[in-house]
Structure formats: structure tokens, C-alpha cells
């Protein structure tokens, strides 16, 4: 890690736009455009799924048909034509892969470009990666090491094949297909994703990581992640994502479910860098994601950390349902919007068990002509006695054409809980800039410094590899917004 990240960042700031915007020409197998029961049967058949899985999908699809796309978020976009999307795209594979040598070299190249080496050399960094391109999991590394500890970390389809009981038990238990419009859509058409199971008392020795990439044109990406942490276990899970630069908008509607049993701890980190569209706001990914963790057991803990820099529209609320007594939910977020990006993001903390605690730290940075909203719910139910919540939502405005909004919803239904919420909105103060200038730091650098300091509280919560990446991303996203 560079000793002085700020210098590096500014170098990068001066060059890059969206550096992950390339497109890899690999043979792709796609489903026909449009969404009908046939599409779902096609996807299910492609994935050689058992009957119960198809049933689940169809139930979700039929429910989805009865729903309307929600409109309450503080974002604007043209109506999505759900019949104009390809719901399944997969890199063509000829046979089951045995080793990395058999992976399409183009594909390997893609991941190398992204800085995600699937190579075994990555062993040194101690990160196990599950790479999902378009809709299909391409390769999961380190499965042997993990297997030794009894940890299951594989693609979702593999899990359906090899661990149907676990999938049946937990899939949809946190985010049921009836949850919302996009959850229903995902449940109907999801193509792949990651599955992770940490057995009782095991502390996962590696950071687990999933990398998502949309490659093919006109496709939507609908992946699904399920993490189950049994009693006393621990896992740190990271997620990253990129997409090519395209003029049309692409839809990404994912579901992440986490279940934490007694005294288990799950740390989920995201660096979201989908293509945000160009400077005129053309193109970009619609990121409509449902993420929820269930603290099922007592003393369990789920912690969400997210750095949101990409996507033309972000609409996501990683949430915690604190069911077990003494369980803990945390949410740390930095959301940056520039140009015409729109973000409506935040969290939900539902306190059900006694003595549950939650912390929300959200830092929004808006620049250009973007709009950045924090929307969060803290709900304390009558049974959640002696619960505690602290929320802090700060917004930083860079430029006079952007907007920063805060929409907290706080509901308390018992008298023994304490809830505190505070929020501030401001710009970078002239005093701070002056102080830096006066000491020979030019304005551009000073802003980089101040923004990083502002976001530090959240960045510190990220695993190290991600923290460096996130710092760079922050600066790149804000490039040209200063002045």
C-alpha cells in the first residue's frame, strides 16, 4: 500500500474516466429477449435445475406480474421495458472446467484487466474469489482450502445441485420473493450468484470475494447471494462489480441474503463500481438491489460496509433484521455521485429482539448534477426492550448544481429504547481549504485530502485490499467536479 495514497489518487484522477469500460468479445449464449414463463423455463432448463427450483421461480414470476414498479425513491428514470431485456447471458462453455488452463483466455484476460487475478498466484493475498460474468459464475478459487474447514463457497447453481437442502432451507427466508418488485423479478429470473456456508464454530481463514461483471449488451444481471453463518462462526465477504460502457441502460437487480445464527458474525463489504454513464448522463447501470441480513441467533452480528461510486441509478438499502436478543447490526456507507448519477441508498434496522444495537454511519458526497439521498428506517418493535440505535448521516456538496437529501424514518414502539439521529449537510469549508492552501497544498489535492478524511470513518471498516481500491475510486469519481 502506498504510503501516501493521496498523491497516487490525484495522478489517477487526471487520467481516467471509467477504466473498466471495455468489452470482452467472448462467445455468449443468450436467452431470447423478453420475459414470459417460457423465458423462466428456458433459464431453469439451461441450468438443469430441479423441479422445486422452477416452481419457486414461477411462483415469483406470477407474483411479480401483480406488482407495480415502485416510485417512492427520489430518482427519476424513463420507464423500464421489461420485455426489451435479455434475462440470461452466459459465456459459452463447452465442458466442465477442471483447472484454470481451460478457462477461455479472453475471460482470464478480462479479469486480469480488472485486477482480479483468478490465478493461483492470488493465493498470496489470501482471497478466495468467485467470479460471476454476465449471469454465470465462471470460476471459484480456493475451494479445496475452504473445504478443509467445512466451508462451502461455490456458485449458486452448484449449491442448488450439491446442497439442495441448505438452499431450500434458507433461500427466500430473509428476502422472500414477495418482498418487493425487484426481489420478485430476481427470484423469477436469477441466473447465478454465490453461495456460502460457514459451519458451526468455524472462523473462515480467507476473505471471501465475489466479482460481478456485466459483459454482454442488452442484458440484465440478476444474481443472488446467500450466506449462512452457523453458530459461533465468522466470515468476511467482499463484493465488487464493473460493467462495459454502453449507451443504453442496463438493469442489475440482485438479492443478497445473510443468515447469522447464535454468536455468528458476518461482515459484508461492497465496492460498487458499475458503469455510471457518461458525462451527459447517457447509459449506465440501474442498480436496484435488495440486501438484507437476518441476525437470527442471540449475540449475532451483521455488518454492512459499502462504497457506492458507480451506477447511473443506485437504489439499495442493505438492512438488518435484529431478531436474536443482544444482536448487532451495523451499516457503514460512502455514496458518491457525480455528473447525472442518482443514488437513493441507506439502510433499515429492524429491532425485534431485546437489547439489540445498531449503528448507522452514512456519508454522501454529491458533485456535478447528481442527486444523492440517504433513506433509512430505524424501527424498534414493542418487544425490543432496551434497544439502542445511533445514526449519523452526513452529506457533502461539491458544486451548486447537485442535491443532497436525507430521509430518515424513525419509529419507536417501546419506552426503554434510545434512538439518536443526527445529520449535517455542508460543503467543504473555506477555512479548511485555506488552511491547506496556506501550507502549500493546492486546491485539487486539498479537496482529495478532505474528502478522504470525511469518508475515513467508513473506509476504515473495509478490508485492506478494498480500502485502497475504494480510496482511488472516490477520487476518480469526483474527478473534474472541483472548481
Amino acid at each position: 500500500m502506498d504510503k501516501n495514497p493521496t498523491n497516487n489518487i490525484l495522478d489517477e484522477v487526471t487520467q481516467s474516466e471509467y477504466k473498466f469500460g471495455f468489452f470482452t468479445d467472448i462467445d455468449t449464449e443468450v436467452a431470447p429477449k423478453g420475459l414470459t414463463e417460457d423465458t423462466i423455463r428456458f433459464i431453469s432448463a439451461k441450468k438443469e435445475e430441479p423441479e422445486w427450483m422452477l416452481e419457486f421461480r414461477l411462483k415469483a414470476f406470477r407474483h411479480w406480474l401483480t406488482l407495480e414498479q415502485p416510485e417512492w425513491a427520489h430518482v427519476e428514470f424513463p420507464k423500464i421495458n421489461y420485455q426489451d431485456i435479455i434475462y440470461y447471458a452466459a459465456p459459452k462453455r463447452k465442458k466442465e472446467l477442471e483447472s484454470l488452463d481451460e478457462v477461455d483466455p479472453e475471460l482470464l484476460d478480462t479479469f486480469n484487466k480488472l485486477g482480479i487475478s483468478l490465478d493461483e498466484q492470488k493465493r498470496l493475498t489470501g482471497v478466495a474469489v468467485d467470479a460471476v460474468i454476465d449471469s454465470v459464475s465462471v470460476k471459484t478459487t480456493f475451494q479445496d482450502t475452504l473445504a478443509k474447514h467445512g466451508i462451502i463457497f461455490c456458485s449458486f447453481s452448484e449449491a442448488v445441485r450439491n446442497h439442495p437442502d441448505l438452499v431450500k432451507q434458507y433461500m427466500g427466508s430473509v428476502v422472500p420473493y414477495t418482498d418487493n418488485y425487484f426481489a420478485a423479478l430476481n427470484s423469477a429470473v436469477f441466473s447465478d450468484g454465490s453461495f456460502c456456508f460457514i459451519p458451526k464454530g468455524v472462523r473462515c481463514p480467507l476473505e471471501l470475494s465475489t466479482y460481478f461483471r456485466i459483459n454482454a449488451a442488452n442484458t440484465g444481471q440478476f444474481e443472488r447471494t446467500l450466506i449462512v453463518a452457523e453458530a459461533g462462526s465468522y466470515v468476511s465477504y467482499m463484493e465488487g462489480c464493473t460493467a462495459p460502457m454502453r449507451d443504453e441502460n442496463q438493469l442489475h437487480a440482485a438479492i443478497v441474503e445473510i443468515v447469522a445464527m447464535d454468536e455468528a458474525e458476518v461482515k459484508y463489504s461492497t465496492v460498487q463500481n458499475w458503469y455510471p454513464g457518461d458525462k451527459q448522463g447517457k447509459g449506465g447501470v440501474y442498480n436496484f438491489v435488495t440486501k438484507r441480513g437476518m441476525c437470527k441467533g442471540h449475540h449475532s452480528k451483521i455488518s454492512w460496509t459499502q462504497v457506492e461510486t458507480g451506477s447511473s441509478i443506485t437504489w439499495k438499502y442493505p438492512s438488518c433484521v435484529l431478531m436474536g436478543d443482544h444482536s448487532i447490526g451495523e451499516f457503514y456507507s460512502v455514496a458518491v455521485t457525480n455528473n447525472y448519477q442518482q443514488a437513493d441508498t441507506g439502510t433499515k434496522m429492524i429491532h425485534i429482539g431485546k437489547n439489540t444495537r445498531s449503528t448507522i454511519i452514512s456519508k454522501g458526497i454529491s458533485a456535478g448534477k447528481s442527486n444523492n439521498s440517504y433513506r433509512g428506517l430505524v424501527k424498534i418493535l414493542p418487544g425490543a426492550t432496551n434497544s439502542r440505535n445511533f445514526s449519523q448521516c452526513d452529506s457533502l456538496l461539491l458544486g451548486d448544481k447537485c442535491g443532497a437529501h436525507t430521509f430518515p424514518y424513525i419509529q419507536a414502539k417501546n419506552e426503554s429504547s434510545i434512538i439518536e439521529h443526527e445529520a449535517t449537510t455542508s460543503k467543504i469549508s473555506e477555512d479548511q481549504l485555506f488552511y491547506c492552501n496556506q501550507r502549500g497544498i493546492d486546491t485539487e489535492k486539498a479537496i482529495g485530502l478532505i474528502v478522504n478524511g470525511y469518508a475515513k470513518e467508513v473506509l476504515n471498516k473495509l478490508p485492506m485490499e478494498f480500502a485502497v481500491e475504494a480510496q482511488k475510486l472516490l477520487s476518480i469519481t469526483l474527478e473534474g467536479s472541483v472548481g
Binding site: L397, A404, H405, N414, S417
Partner: protein
């Protein structure tokens, strides 16, 4: 004329059949506005819980009762003189009274006070001061008002009109007393228009009271215009019986360097909804929007405070505090909107709540929507209970638990009370809060500020030397 129809259908029918009677005393502008507002109401009806702003306040329950709504004057069964025997000690006010929504003509429809302040019935004002009236009437309320505001405009009959001419500083506080006294369940609409000219100054007290134990539904719309450098202090006292519903919509438009200070004190009411919208339309305008609510039993209060910073260099400060006992529920939705280019805005918003029983609930939503960068906006919200350490401190000094609780609650409320700048009123409110916290304040059979009983000092039974 009692009709067993749902309120909205009844109103629609009334408007259709009695339109001529309604518009008989109108000037043409008002008739036009009525028709437009009625068309809007026909489309929207009363709001329901599917609307975001009404999600946490169910007014459906109100519709279970049937209300009487009269086009003509509703008489009281009691002696009007006696009802308004109203005074605060050492506090001399000019009184304008509304009984069942109608202006009580003690001194004629309009009167001019020695200092130049004009006040009286809104019905009369539209003919006596048509230019002034037309300039402001219906110009300050929302462009897309909710059903309550629309129907109020459509069916408007009477209310209070106050005009403080340029440069006039009102000597006495004006007190608007609104009482409901009917044997039937009534639906009452009142409409107020308050205009302050340049460099003028006024303090105003607005009391909502009910006299008997019958349920009533009061729908009030108040429009307030503050011209340049005008200054208004507005105290709202709400003390209705547990069966009553009150929907209060106040719209304020502030021009440059004007100053608004409102204090909404809610002591008692079955269901209460306060919509306060302040538009800061001139540089240097400042608004203080404060409130205190002390609810118990199954009462419900909903405060919706919207502050629009439409131009640069304005400041606002919002503070609402509430204590909820029994099964009471409260909603607070603060909304600060800072328009593009409204630079150098400084806005603060705070909502503090204390819950006393496991069954009390609170929903607080302090929102910020900001489109300018050189601003300082912050908000805070807390929900908690009485500080256990402070309790322990008091108990350890020999103060009984009940008294200690009272003292702490009173201290919590004092933050708001201390902002009242008219001393006799402050003392009076102070007493009322103490009484309310002790559960001794029921709906007065007289005006809220004159409780019939001889002056009695309220104090805590605490030996202060022990502290």
C-alpha cells in the same frame, strides 16, 4: 340539517345544492376560487393512508362518526358573553372570537384599533378591503393542496382577518379564541388571513378550545403574509377534548428581513394534525418554528413542518419536543427544502421525544432536501426516556419518584416554554404545563387561559435546599 352521509359525500352534496347560498356574500374572485377548489376536492377527496404524508395518521377513524355541517350560522346554546370571559392576569389582549366557526360580532364585523391594526371577520374583509384580500387570499397556500385545504377554500364561510398596516407596531397581543359548543357532532371550517405590512409588528395568540364533551372536527386554514421587515409572533394553544379532531393548516410567506416565531403548544386533543408550511421568499428572512406536545390516553398528534428556503440568505430553526404517555402516538415530519441557488442558507431542525409507557409510539421523520452547496443544514432526532442518572440524583436527595419524574419532564418542556417572550403568557403556559404533567389539566369549561378556578400557585413539593 343532519344527514347520514359520509362527510365527503355530504360536503359534495351540500356544495351542489347550496352553492348559491355559499357564494351569496362573495366577491367574484372568491367564487372562482371556490369552484376551482371544489373541483380539486371532487378529484382528490380527503387524503387517506396510501399517501406518504398521511401514512402514519389514520383519519379513517374520524369518518366513523357522522358530523353535522351547516351552511348557515351555528348558534351556541349558552350565553356568548359568558363563554368569552377570558383573561390572563396582567396580560391585556385584544380578543377576536369565533364560535362554532363563526365570527362573534361584539363590536361589528370590522374594527380598527387605536394603533391602526384592523381586525374582524374574513367575510366582511373581502368587501371592505378587496384589493388587499385578493392579493393574498389563496396565494400563500400550496399549489397542490390536500383535500382539507381544498374543501376549506370551497366551503369557506367565516374566520378571522387581521391587517397590520405598514410601520404599525401592534400594542396589544391579539387573541383569537375559537370555541366549539354544540350538542351535535359538528364539522367546522374556518379560514384566517393575516397580513403584516412593511416594518410592522404583531403578536398573536390562537386558541383552539372545545367546551363540551361532544366530538367535533375542526378544519382550519390560516394564511399569513409577512412583508419586508415585518415581525410576527404566533402562539397556538390547542386544548380540545379527547373526542375532537383538529386539522390545522398554516401557510406563511415571508418577504425580505421578516421574522416569524411560531410556537405550537398542544395540551390535549383526540387527533390533531398541524401542517405548517413556511416559504422564505426574501433574503434575510428568519423563521423559528417551535412546538411542544404533551399527549396521553389514546391521543394522536401529527406535526408536519415544511420550511422552503426559496432564496439565498435565509435562516430557519425548528424545534419540536414531545412527551408521550399511555397509548398516545405522535408523528413528526420536518422537511427542510433548500432550492437551487438558495445559498448561505442556515437551517436547523430538531425533534426530541420522551416515551413514558411501553405502549406509547413515535414516528419521526426529519427530512432534508438540498439543492444548493453553500449551506449549513443539520437535523437531529432523539427518542428516549427520562435520564436514569438524573432520576437517581434526585431520588438520592430525598425527592419522591413522582416528583422527580415531574421535575425532569418539566425541565424537558421548559426548553420550549422559555422561548415565549411575553412574560405573563410564559408564566401562564408554564403553569399549564405543570398542571398538564400532573394530569390536572382537563378541558376547561371556559377559555383555556381562564380556568374558572381562583388563581392557584403550582409548585413542586420539593425542598430545594436539599438539591
Amino acid at each position: 340539517m343532519q344527514q347520514q352521509l359520509p362527510l365527503d359525500s355530504m360536503l359534495k352534496e351540500q356544495y351542489d345544492t347550496h352553492r348559491e347560498e355559499l357564494i351569496a356574500r362573495d366577491i367574484p374572485t372568491v367564487t372562482n376560487l371556490r369552484d376551482k377548489a371544489f373541483a380539486a376536492f371532487q378529484k382528490s377527496g380527503f387524503p387517506d393512508s396510501s399517501q406518504e404524508k398521511w401514512r402514519n395518521t389514520s383519519i379513517e377513524d374520524l369518518w366513523e362518526d357522522t358530523f353535522e355541517h351547516q351552511i348557515g350560522i351555528m348558534k351556541s346554546d349558552r350565553n356568548v358573553e359568558e363563554l368569552f370571559r377570558c383573561e390572563v392576569h396582567n396580560f391585556d389582549t385584544e380578543i377576536v372570537s369565533l364560535l362554532n366557526g363563526w365570527h362573534v360580532k361584539n363590536d361589528g364585523d370590522m374594527r380598527t384599533l387605536p394603533d391602526g391594526v384592523i381586525m374582524g371577520s374574513i367575510q366582511a374583509a373581502m368587501k371592505v378591503y378587496p384589493a388587499l384580500f385578493e392579493k393574498h387570499f389563496c396565494q400563500i397556500c400550496d399549489e397542490n393542496p390536500n383535500g382539507f385545504v381544498s374543501i376549506n377554500t370551497a366551503m369557506m364561510q367565516d374566520g378571522v382577518f387581521i391587517y397590520v398596516p405598514d410601520g404599525v407596531v401592534a400594542e396589544k397581543t391579539i387573541q383569537i379564541i375559537k370555541m366549539i359548543d354544540r350538542k351535535e357532532q359538528v364539522f367546522v371550517q374556518t379560514r384566517n388571513l393575516i397580513v403584516l405590512g412593511k416594518n410592522s409588528q404583531l403578536s398573536l395568540m390562537h386558541c383552539d378550545d372545545s367546551i363540551n364533551q361532544q366530538s367535533s372536527l375542526v378544519n382550519t386554514v390560516t394564511e399569513i403574509f409577512l412583508d419586508e421587515n415585518a415581525s410576527l409572533e404566533l402562539y397556538k394553544l390547542q386544548n380540545l377534548n379527547d373526542q375532537s379532531g383538529l386539522v390545522n393548516s398554516t401557510f406563511v410567506r415571508q418577504m425580505a428581513s421578516s421574522n416569524l416565531k411560531t410556537n405550537t403548544l398542544t395540551f390535549n386533543c383526540g387527533l390533531i394534525r398541524n401542517n405548517i408550511t413556511v416559504n422564505l421568499d426574501g433574503a434575510g428572512a428568519h423563521a423559528d418554528v417551535l412546538g411542544l406536545y404533551l399527549m396521553d390516553k389514546q391521543q394522536h398528534i401529527d406535526n408536519q413542518i415544511q420550511i422552503n428556503h426559496n432564496v439565498a440568505h435565509c435562516t430557519s430553526n425548528e424545534l419540536f419536543k414531545g412527551i408521550l404517555d399511555d397509548e398516545a402516538s405522535a408523528v413528526f415530519n420536518g422537511y427542510i427544502y433548500v432550492a437551487r441557488d438558495a445559498q448561505k442558507t442556515n437551517a436547523y431542525q430538531n425533534n426530541n421525544n420522551i416515551l413514558l409507557k411501553p405502549t406509547a409510539t413515535i414516528n419521526t421523520m426529519p427530512f432534508l432536501e438540498i439543492y444548493a452547496d453553500d449551506v449549513k443544514c443539520s437535523h437531529g432526532a432523539t427518542i428516549g426516556q427520562l435520564d436514569q442518572e438524573a432520576m437517581f440524583y434526585l431520588r438520592s436527595r430525598g425527592i419522591a419518584a413522582d416528583n422527580a419524574r415531574l421535575l425532569l419532564m418539566y425541565a424537558f418542556a421548559a426548553d420550549i416554554i422559555n422561548h415565549i417572550s411575553i412574560e405573563p403568557l410564559r408564566q401562564r403556559i408554564d403553569d399549564m404545563v405543570k398542571k398538564r404533567l400532573r394530569g390536572e389539566l382537563s378541558v376547561c369549561d371556559k377559555c383555556i387561559l381562564h380556568c374558572g378556578a381562583p388563581e392557584k400557585q403550582y409548585h413542586f413539593d420539593i425542598d430545594l435546599s436539599k438539591l
